[in-house]
């Protein structure tokens, strides 16, 4: 038993982000395989809507879908409405960036961390929604 454990191949080694300070500890990123980013036809993937509502002013925003550190899809909007990502999986992140001159509300149509809807005051809109 001990022998088999000894001979077992080590799991794929995590790659850390290079920093100028060797003592720092950063978040680990797993290695990517050929199938890791495939969402088409995956049973656990689902369409997700991101709805932007601009109140008392105008706004402009971009929603970016990331999977395992890779940009999968990016869509922009410049008035109240929705963008749809057709194949979203758990652990994906939807990054929201933009500006609103009034109040803005962003709603993601699935469970996320942080929870949506998220309300923004006039100014920059910045959030990263982790799909649960």
């Amino acid at each position: 038993m001990a022998k088999s454990a000894k001979n077992k191949k080590p799991a794929s080694r995590a790659r850390s982000i290079p920093t100028s300070n060797a003592k720092t500890k950063t978040m680990t990123i797993p290695e990517l395989s050929a199938n890791a980013l495939v969402a088409e036809g995956a049973p656990h993937s689902k369409p997700v809507d991101v709805t932007f509502t601009f109140i008392g002013g105008i706004g402009q925003a971009t929603a970016v879908l990331f999977r395992k550190g890779v940009l999968i899809n990016m869509q922009s909007i410049s008035n109240t409405g929705s963008v749809t990502f057709s194949e979203v999986q758990s652990s994906d992140v939807i990054s929201v960036n933009g500006v609103c001159t009034g109040k803005a509300q962003v709603t993601v149509s699935t469970t996320t961390t942080p929870a949506s809807p998220k309300t923004f005051n006039p100014g920059l809109m910045m959030a990263n929604f982790l799909i649960k």
Partner: protein, 395 residues
């Protein structure tokens, strides 16, 4: 009677101020005007204003100013949605007012009304695509947005899921301002710094974060936006309007005033914390000529009043708390003169405006007639309403 009225005014002001102090997070839509100067709010109001004018003089006035847009949005909150909000630009450029005039005994002394339209309003950043583009083109704003996007990518690559969830929540606390940079876990701090150093566009931001553990992303983003907005609010504003007053015993105009007013910030993009505004007002006033029998509007008085308004702002919130307005006023009687009356008169005026609450201003006006050596003083109160809070919450 005076004491009773003063008590009533005080009570109304306290009632008006209560919602503003009780709300921890005021509705952002309705605080769009909170950084505006009191002088700007007197020239063009965005929602509602209640004014108590010339409290200590024989002709007192209680005046309500509003916009048709405020009423429409109160009745139908979808007016606040961006598309309708843009379409309602004209409605928001109109101000109307109703006032009750009171005599020394606080009895009804006439009714007045008026309408004003902003011919030029380059200050309304809420509908300006140019302002939006200006914010997006700002270097620091771009760096913050880039950082947010890259961190989003990094979070998507974290495993296992529980750590990923924890980091996502922690980053959200950072981006919403709940946590300073120094309050983040060492792992997230190091990752943010690593991301910044690896990306040339945001590498300068890394230097700021290393030297300032109190760095707050939300406050930094807000200060970038507020600085740009404060400068945008110094743009030109030109209004035209007409006001009228009736007699106390008859619904006939006793006074009609046609006026134009211009307002523009002088020190745009200056590094000075305090602002200087230029304000010019021209008016033609038509009143009853008492030499003629009956009631008419045959006496005409033209006036022009150029002024500079010095605005003192707080260091951190950039809200104006004190304003000093200096102006000269020239009056010309363009109709038949009464006995002993001068055709041209010249005044030196000064107004001190003190903000006593977030939306309540107390302007004290002093007029000096250099020729005759007369000095007059008027005490006013202005309360700007944020009455659409409920409507905004319904959306």
């Amino acid at each position: 009677m005076t004491a009773k009225f003063s008590g009533l005014v005080l009570l109304i002001l306290l009632c008006l101020s209560f919602p503003a102090t009780a709300q921890k997070k005021p509705n952002p839509i309705l605080t769009a005007d909170s950084l505006a100067t009191g002088n700007y709010k007197d020239v063009l109001n965005s929602f509602f204003q209640l004014a108590f004018d010339q409290l200590a003089s024989p002709d007192k006035e209680v005046r309500f100013t509003g916009t048709p847009f405020a009423v429409m949005a109160k009745l139908d909150s979808t007016f606040l949605l961006d598309k309708k909000y843009l379409e309602s630009k004209t409605l928001r450029r109109i101000n109307y007012q109703f006032a009750l005039r009171l005599d020394t005994a606080f009895k009804f002394n006439g009714f007045s009304s008026g309408i004003k339209y902003a011919l030029i309003n380059k200050r309304d950043e809420t509908v300006s695509q140019a302002f939006l583009d200006m914010v997006l083109a700002d270097t620091l704003a771009q760096q913050l947005l880039t950082l947010n996007t890259i961190i989003g990518g990094k979070i998507s690559a974290i495993s296992p899921a529980d750590v990923q969830d924890k980091i996502a929540a922690e980053y959200d606390a950072f981006v919403t301002g709940a946590k300073n940079f120094g309050g983040l876990s060492q792992q997230l701090q190091d990752t943010i710094l690593a991301v910044m150093r690896a990306n040339g566009n945001i590498s300068k931001l890394a230097g700021i974060l290393v030297n300032n553990k109190q760095f707050n992303m939300a406050k930094t983003a807000d200060s970038v936006y507020q600085d740009l907005k404060a400068n945008f609010n110094k743009n030109a504003l030109l209004t035209i309007g007409v006001t009228d007053t009736t007699y106390r015993d008859q619904f006939v105009f006793s006074n009609v005033v046609f006026q134009a007013e211009f307002l523009k910030g002088v020190n745009k993009y200056a590094k000075s914390r305090n602002d200087l505004e230029f304000n010019a007002r021209a008016a033609l006033q038509l009143v009853d000529d008492t030499l003629n029998a009956g009631r008419d509007l045959k006496r005409a008085l033209f006036s022009i009043e150029p002024a500079f308004n010095l605005v003192f702002k707080t260091r951190t919130t950039q809200k104006s708390y004190l304003e000093l307005k200096f102006s000269t006023a020239y009056y010309r009687n363009v109709s038949t003169l009464y006995v002993g009356e001068e055709r041209d008169r010249f005044f030196l005026n000064g107004t001190i405006r003190v903000r006593i609450m977030n939306d309540i201003w107390v302007p004290f006006e002093i007029k000096y007639d250099p020729k005759n050596g007369n000095l007059f003083g008027f005490l006013n109160v202005r309360a700007n309403f944020r009455a659409l809070a409920g409507a905004a919450k319904q959306l």
